[in-house]
């Protein structure tokens, strides 16, 4: 087990700069998720950690040792690929045993380790099969088994669940996390799925275009997103953005957007007249017959447990989520109440958080 440290890491492919000056530290035994839209450089960063891409600029340290010129096999890491990359001509047993056999461990030891991993992953009945004879979920578990038997210092996962159906994904999320709680191996997990990040991570690193936007626990990232991008990326249904400006003096400032006025928390420190973007999460909006903000219902979708509403306030669209079933119809006028403490204010220009 080990910590992983990135120091001013940069990478270009030819003339295309993929990332620049990435620095952060993953402490020992943590489950860290690299989260970001596709193409932002997550896989590249992971492959540099594994030694599959050269580290063009900066340094990567694993367990305090500089890894720049260390061969992948000597980094003591294990990687699970997005497409699993199982060895198609080897049976499941040999797939899992491959790394041990290559390292010339004794037959008994190999057997013991493979059986341990198979037991842990419920693969015991499938050890004599070929990868093509397995379902997607089983292949995924073989890929994990291959990583487990190595007992590496660090696990690297590259979108391991993206090829599974939704139900299986939920189950594997839980199993991977439980495995981590049991083995306590430092894990770097790459995904573009914010649900995976929120449910599994000790710490999330949000990336965009090769840059780190925010690092924090899932709660911090959800409760206090550092900028509009993070606020928009985390949470489902996604956050509402209203463009407007700040009025009033410190202590009793208000947010004005068209005819709508929202009171702000007393500790808000913004310039009067400052142009801002106000983020309101749909779940933070209470919909009732007599809230202070009047809105017209455009669309009601019920998921069974909750109702998703699309509303307009002075022509601005806004989404809200209400618990239970709502007896609202398109065209109805209802009242919204919003707790000022749940508002997220971002500067309209820099898009950085100001409250």
């Amino acid at each position: 087990m080990a910590s992983v440290e990135y120091v001013n890491v940069g990478k270009s492919f030819g003339a295309v700069k993929v990332m620049e000056d990435i620095s952060f530290t993953i402490s020992d035994q943590k489950f860290v998720v690299l989260l970001g839209p596709s193409g932002c450089g997550k896989t590249t960063l992971l492959r540099m950690t594994a030694g599959l891409e050269t580290i063009a600029d900066g340094e990567i340290h694993i367990g305090g040792k500089r890894m720049n010129n260390v061969h992948p096999r000597d980094r003591d890491i294990a990687m699970v690929f997005q497409n699993y990359a199982l060895y198609p001509t080897l049976k499941v047993f040999d797939n899992i045993a491959f790394s041990l056999q290559v390292r010339r461990q004794s037959k008994d030891e190999v057997k013991k380790q493979v059986e341990w991993a198979a037991e842990l992953l419920n693969l015991t009945p499938y050890l004599a099969r070929y990868p093509k004879e397995l379902s997607g979920g089983q292949r995924q578990r073989v890929a994990m088994g291959r990583a487990l038997v190595r007992h590496p210092q660090v696990f690297l996962f590259d979108e391991p669940l993206s090829n599974l159906d939704a139900k299986l994904r939920g189950q594997m999320r839980y199993e991977i996390r439980r495995l981590h709680d049991r083995l306590q191996t430092t894990t770097i997990y790459v995904t573009h799925d914010q649900i995976e990040a929120m449910t599994m991570a000790d710490e999330i690193v949000v990336m965009r275009d090769g840059e780190i936007e925010q690092i924090g626990t899932p709660e911090e990232i959800y409760d206090r997103p550092a900028n509009c991008f993070v606020a928009d990326f985390i949470g489902s249904p996604s956050i509402n953005f209203l463009k407007g400006e700040i009025q009033g003096t410190a202590g009793q400032q208000t947010f004005h957007a068209g005819g709508m006025v929202l009171p702000l928390p007393a500790q808000t420190k913004a310039e009067p007249g400052q142009k801002v973007t106000c983020g309101i999460r749909p779940v933070d909006i209470a919909v009732g017959p007599d809230g202070p903000v009047k809105a017209e219902v455009v669309l009601v979708e019920s998921t069974g447990a909750e109702s998703h509403l699309l509303l307009t306030i002075d022509g601005q669209e806004i989404r809200a989520v209400a618990q239970g079933r709502l007896r609202a119809r398109p065209g109805d006028i209802c009242g919204l109440s919003i707790d000022p403490a749940t508002l997220h204010l971002f500067d309209a220009g820099s898009e950085q958080r100001i409250n």
């Binding site: 992948p72 497409n83 060895y87 001509t89 070929y130």
Partner: protein, 291 residues
């Protein structure tokens, strides 16, 4: 897609028509080999009903199949005794294919997986060697072979066929290796395997289909190559295409004998393709990667 009966029948008809188009010349060639000389150019052509005779085969292979021994002297003079010639062709095709496939497989894997300076140019350069017409180098090759003592030897023809097949074999195999996900190599690299172990134990078994296909192409090329087989040999070996050409003489063409040799020459190639066909149709990645 659901077809109406009419569409189904039409499809079957078209399929059969295409098969006929390819099969008929072969059928006709075989009939020529067992026809009597006077029936070969009969008008109207005797396609299905004719007198059969093994004479052409007896003459070409110098064996008696239990029929009356052939009427002597044919164009070219004397009995042709072709069985050793067929053997020459087999030896040259098998060894040149083996050399070409062995070298090309290693080269193609390296080109597919390793990054080096000028890689792109290298691939193009390989291809460019096929752009020159072989006849342009035939005469220089003759002198080179003469100086090196390779003229009229198996080694010489095996080498020249292997070299001529190499560019296409490398590019073809490279495309097969490119289709095998490189993550498999990378996973094995992290697992601690050496490049050669990865190649031998993981990649090679997956590429067998592509290698078989390439081998078939190389074999057929060598089996039918004429120019170098003619110019770089004298008497100690003669491949089938070269021998075939000797049936065309100033006093006439021995169509029956040529057809008999051609028919016999189809067999080894046919056997070779049968042998590798199991690998030809095998799926390439066998489900290692989710599609």
């Amino acid at each position: 897609m659901v077809l109406t009966p009419a569409q189904r029948i039409l499809r079957a008809l078209v399929a059969w028509a295409v098969v006929m188009l390819f099969a008929f010349p072969i059928y006709y060639w075989i009939t020529v080999s067992i026809k009597l000389g006077r029936d070969i150019f009969a008008i109207p052509p005797k396609i299905f009903s004719f007198e059969t005779s093994a004479k052409s085969y007896e003459e070409v292979f110098g064996i008696s199949l239990g029929f009356e021994k052939g009427i002597a002297v044919l164009p070219g003079g004397g009995d042709f005794y072709m069985a050793p010639r067929l053997m020459d062709s087999i030896i040259i095709a098998v060894f040149s294919t083996a050399v070409a496939v062995l070298v090309a497989t290693l080269a193609a894997y390296a080109l597919s997986r390793m990054r080096f300076r000028g890689q792109h140019h290298f691939v193009f350069w390989i291809l460019s060697t096929r752009m020159m017409p072989p006849v342009a180098v035939a005469i220089p090759m003759f002198f080179i072979y003469k100086d090196f003592g390779l003229l009229d030897t198996y080694t010489g023809i095996v080498l020249v066929h292997a070299l001529m097949n190499m560019p296409l074999a490398v590019l073809l195999l490279k495309s097969f290796f490119d289709d095998i996900p490189k993550e498999i190599d990378e996973a094995a690299l992290i697992d601690g395997a050496s490049r050669f172990l990865i190649f031998r134990k993981l990649v090679l078994p997956m590429a067998l289909g592509g290698i078989a296909a390439t081998a078939v192409l190389c074999f057929i090329f060598s089996w039918t190559e004429f120019l170098f087989a003619l110019t770089l040999t004298q008497t100690s070996l003669k491949t089938v295409p070269v021998v075939s050409s000797t049936f065309v003489t100033s006093t006439g063409t021995a169509w029956g004998n040529m057809a008999a040799l051609g028919t016999a020459a189809m067999l080894p190639a046919f056997v070779f393709i049968l042998l590798v066909q199991k690998n030809l149709v095998r799926g390439l990645t066998l489900g290692s990667v989710k599609q």
